[in-house]
Symmetry: D2
Subunit: 385 residues, 4 copies
């Protein structure tokens, strides 16, 4: 079973993850992880911190001579800036009394966190609720992608909307637009729409406001039969929804056609089943987004995430001082005003990990060689059905 735990405060020493259950002998390319980390830091609308700090991953355990050992991997992303924060974020008892953050920002976890964990200084909450945490999830996802690539499973994400600017992508094969997406500062395929989006962001920025938006993750090459209908907690759409919804700022998740699809009557919704000797079973449409009854059906898996606007604004919202109980205006901590492209990269990683976990569950095996033999044996079986 593939599993991981992750940790780290936003201005602490760094972010860490331990990934347990990876088969042995998978080549791990650190550059590919760093590329994903870089993509996460880019995107029009990101603030200054992103420009300063270039995230790099370090592998501490579980890899030797460029390959996984079958033992738990530890990865670390150091906060280069930590040296400037030691008097605030030091592990041991701090010498100087800290100035406490007492005014919770609406839309953040500040208030709930201070109440739940009995924190008198909201700094103790901020440091973990921050989306900085998603850097390590991206890195974990990037390792999962390296497992998936052995099975020709590809994954991509792109932005569908920013604020009120949206467009609908209709081409069946998104992967041929990969370069366009990677070159766009908003991970947007359509350059005209991209321009509108940039204008929207600029306009919001001018007003001291922030924007949300939507993105889509597509996974290609997933074999029929991941997930299961046998027990509700094994359904692949459920676990993907959990993953995406756990991403900071996400308020909605859709599979396949999602909400737009459901206004159709049944006669126009369901993907008819076809067969040819070359392709085996296939469908000409993919309303279902590659998942039926919680099980992958071999078509592209399509999952959409919808992100609320970043809560930190230069136009502050009303709040209350937790010590004096006076009404206050919430402080501004940083200056991103749109993080949708970044979220789409994290979401890629989240989906990659979930699919990798399902692959490990279905095909078993302790080395990549053993897992591959099992996979091939199953693919042969499928061809004969």
């Amino acid at each position: 079973m593939l599993r991981y735990l992750c940790a780290g405060e936003s201005h602490g020493k760094g972010l860490v993850a331990i990934v347990e259950g990876m088969p042995s002998n998978i080549p791990i390319d650190i550059n590919r992880i760093n590329e994903d980390l870089k993509k996460r830091q880019q995107g029009y609308g990101r603030g200054n911190r992103m420009k300063i700090e270039k995230d790099k991953v370090e592998i501490i355990t579980g890899v030797r001579d460029g390959k996984t050992l079958g033992t738990p991997l530890t990865i670390v992303i150091k906060n280069i800036d930590y040296k400037n924060w030691t008097n605030v974020m030091g592990i041991e008892k701090l010498e100087n009394q800290q100035k406490k953050i007492l005014e919770p920002r609406p839309g953040h976890g500040d208030l709930v966190g201070a109440l739940k964990y009995n924190h008198k200084d909201i700094r103790n909450v901020i440091e973990r609720t921050s989306a900085r945490e998603t850097a390590i999830r991206t890195a974990v996802g990037s390792i999962a992608k390296q497992l998936l690539s052995k099975f020709n499973i590809q994954i991509i994400s792109h932005v569908l909307s920013i604020g009120e600017v949206k467009y609908k992508f209709t081409d069946k094969d998104i992967f041929k637009f990969k370069n366009l997406i990677e070159e766009s500062c908003l991970r947007c395929i359509d350059t005209n729409v991209e321009k509108e989006m940039i204008d929207e962001i600029n306009e919001a920025k001018r007003k001291g406001d922030s924007l949300g938006g939507s993105f889509e993750v597509i996974v290609k090459g997933v074999p029929v039969g991941l997930g299961s209908y046998s027990h509700f907690d094994r359904k692949l759409d459920g676990t993907l929804a959990q993953g995406i919804m756990s991403l900071q700022g996400i308020k909605a998740v859709e599979i396949g056609e999602g909400i737009d699809g459901i206004t159709n009557p049944g006669s126009k919704f369901h993907d008819e089943i076809q067969y040819s000797i070359e392709k085996g079973y296939y469908r000409n449409t993919n309303m279902a987004g590659g998942i039926e009854a919680g099980v992958s059906n071999g078509e592209n898996i399509i999952i959409k995430g919808h992100m609320k606007p970043i809560p930190t604004l230069t136009q502050p919202l009303k709040t209350v001082n937790m010590f004096t109980k006076e009404e206050k205006e919430a402080v501004v901590e940083r200056s991103d005003n749109c993080a949708v492209p970044s979220a789409s990269i994290v979401a890629e990683g989240i989906c990659a990990f979930i699919i990798a976990k399902e692959m490990v569950d279905k095909f078993g095996g302790d080395s990549i060689e053993e897992m591959m033999l099992n996979y091939k044996s199953y693919m042969n079986y499928l061809r004969e059905r």
Copy 2:
């Protein structure tokens, strides 16, 4: 930790669940479970089977003298009709060769299930992918509600759309419309909209077609601090999304304002924080749907589910015979053409269980008395913050 496993084939002996981790001494009223089961079977658009079979739960273990023992509960919903299915669904080797189902129905799990589990008879898949399974999840949820009611946590669901007919509910207190909802054959608050929905269903039925739609679950009285931002797999919005998405036919999940909300700029999205001595911290708006940073904030938890049209149609879709590989038309198994109200009841139960699990995690305790003391102690603490 509260957990459960469930089981059962659609035309088998019955559905079963074992629920482990319930505190002791909680009064269990079987009638309340049966009421939820009845609600699940109702709703305009359900077919004939629902009219024949009245689900009743039987408790086998974990309850004595009307109270939980702190030991695992087993609940069973017998299939009254099983006696007519023994020659098809018998547990032991069947005497007569069965007529196999060979043509997978689009939109169902038929094809993926037959391939994943190497079934030559699609009957083996149908029996578990069927939404009949949700009866037992409803019953488990109904037991969870009886735990929640000790803490004055209430839960309700209502239908927001059927096919293209939708409406937006705006009143802040849904619970005062409880009677209206329970009396409506579509769990719809607005009787005019309900009429349109009925027309839509009738029209679809006339055409041999089916409809999907949307529903909303609202949970009131949830204390601040369920879920956690500390680790991504503990975020309450994530676990709720997993639960709802695991329900048959669901293709999208939203928290709070969801997709409609995200087109707003940040200045119009986030719920400002207020304080009064009587109420403590509160908000005048609830765009967030009661969850910030994966943690409950004391406002109503609001979650929406979007259900695709039922795949079984009287106008069949194209498919392929898995034995001969000939193109075929998918068979029709039953005659529901809309199951959204039913899904909304199941979703209530799913949410109830997840919230109950979080309550048990946060407040600990092995008896309801111990749990209640811990809860009260925390509520006192909150009042002093």
Copy 3:
């Protein structure tokens, strides 16, 4: 992942388990389960209840036409005697005030259970702490054995000691003594020792006393590589120890030579590694009991359990009335005075389930056919190493 939950009170309606994660298409023979249940009920030293009640399992879900469906199995063992207990153990509010059990029996869970779960009637504890619960674990184990038998994995148990009578078994191949063991009323290979054991039991019975003892479970045919050293919670010796120690009355668990072995110096403890073309790697000794570094090494897995004497005595021990706090003598509930052979059968089932879970984890696959292909492919690989 193979998992299960189980439930049931000793004098309630029955015992239930739901087993999730079994591959499809495994033939299930109910008679074999019932045979294990019968063995559990036998053994010299068992009391009268065992003679009255013949446990039979009923499968409710997850099996059709004699084969697993890949869906969760539910199994039930009804308490035939429940009809005489409805006024004591009824699920719904009991009409008549019950006579409460107020005096906890030493050596049982009575006192800790009443305190933990806030029970005023110790009956509420007794009903679940009773070893009656092990009947369902035996049945689950018996299903696991049917999976294992597809891979030629055999399992056997025998009794090593009763009270102070013990003997040491030295022959390398226990399985050739299978008939002797199954025919012995104490699961004892040596008929002379068996006689001494019977005398010991008779003598204890005469004094109103009870006896414990030791047993051994041996599993043959386990492939190299189950369990893992990669993370401590995956070590096979650890999970087996957890399983055996969770059995009622067990106070010690040993792997291989166990405590007797550790007084040896290293030069006389470790099993030297040999190789031949026919056998591959093998060892001439098996001090390690088939597990090195938490991983199966292909030799027989050997695990010993040590069971304390049954706490219920006809010579009662001192206790306290929980209501009056007066010193009392503990009551006698039943008349077994030795249950070691029975425990050894339950332990077989516990080990079988754990090994089956590890097989499913390592070889993956959703049908037995797929799992078997993966297994064979691995066995081929082993031959080439």
Copy 4:
């Protein structure tokens, strides 16, 4: 729920653990962790590596200003020696072809690991199976102890036997011998026995041989009611057995009187129940080792572990070259010849973590203040029963 993952190769960069689910606001003293690490490295019979390398823990996440944040803790123990191993243990592709280890050592995981994970170089196995991994488990346990100390739960371990030298400790209160134990180079209370043990070790060393032995962990102050009889996987004796058996070299685990106890008849085994107004319920004996029916009963929890002799010998055992299949003599890697005192310290930590997990489960709460209130409320309740 308290949980952790750990990682690290013996000669890699270091050992790491992430601990998730610790309540907030627990003071963490790094020195106390380092003291446990130091104790683990001591003990008569340890080899040279232990003398060179002084383990120190670094906390990376989850602690600020000397207190837990309620977020995951990361702890790291760096391998100071790693700089000398980069050409062997480097993460990225190594420049020079490595000399492979091809001859598996009997008694180690070398052979099973190479086969399971398809490793051609046994170095890939050795690095994780090594008992070096237990340093991080000790550190995790040491953090758990700091939680437990808030509830006055104390934990101690001492050595019961080395090779054939053993003694039986009979005094009821081990904690008054704490200083004696900590000052003994073998964690042995009796200085005469200690001398015999040293002689035994010296004699074995002279012969190039190694020794095993036994230790005992005692936990004092555990409240009644941890663990549960409700479901077999929650029994406290089972989870403790799993923990201890997962420790390198352990081949047997006992609770309370264990194997020695079970030869007693029931009339002499079970701990009679007493009551006084001052103490509440108590027992004058503790054969059960503080656990009845899988639940703590308030008496000291006593658990024994039995460790096989260290497999690495200067008198090598027979093995086979995995490449040539020639018979060989196993190589010697390091020079510990007895590690029982060290194992006893690791076992303390393992037990501490398990008890801490149970405390968190029973008392809930997200901050230590909340958890403490719940604990006190339960202790009050106990006094009234």
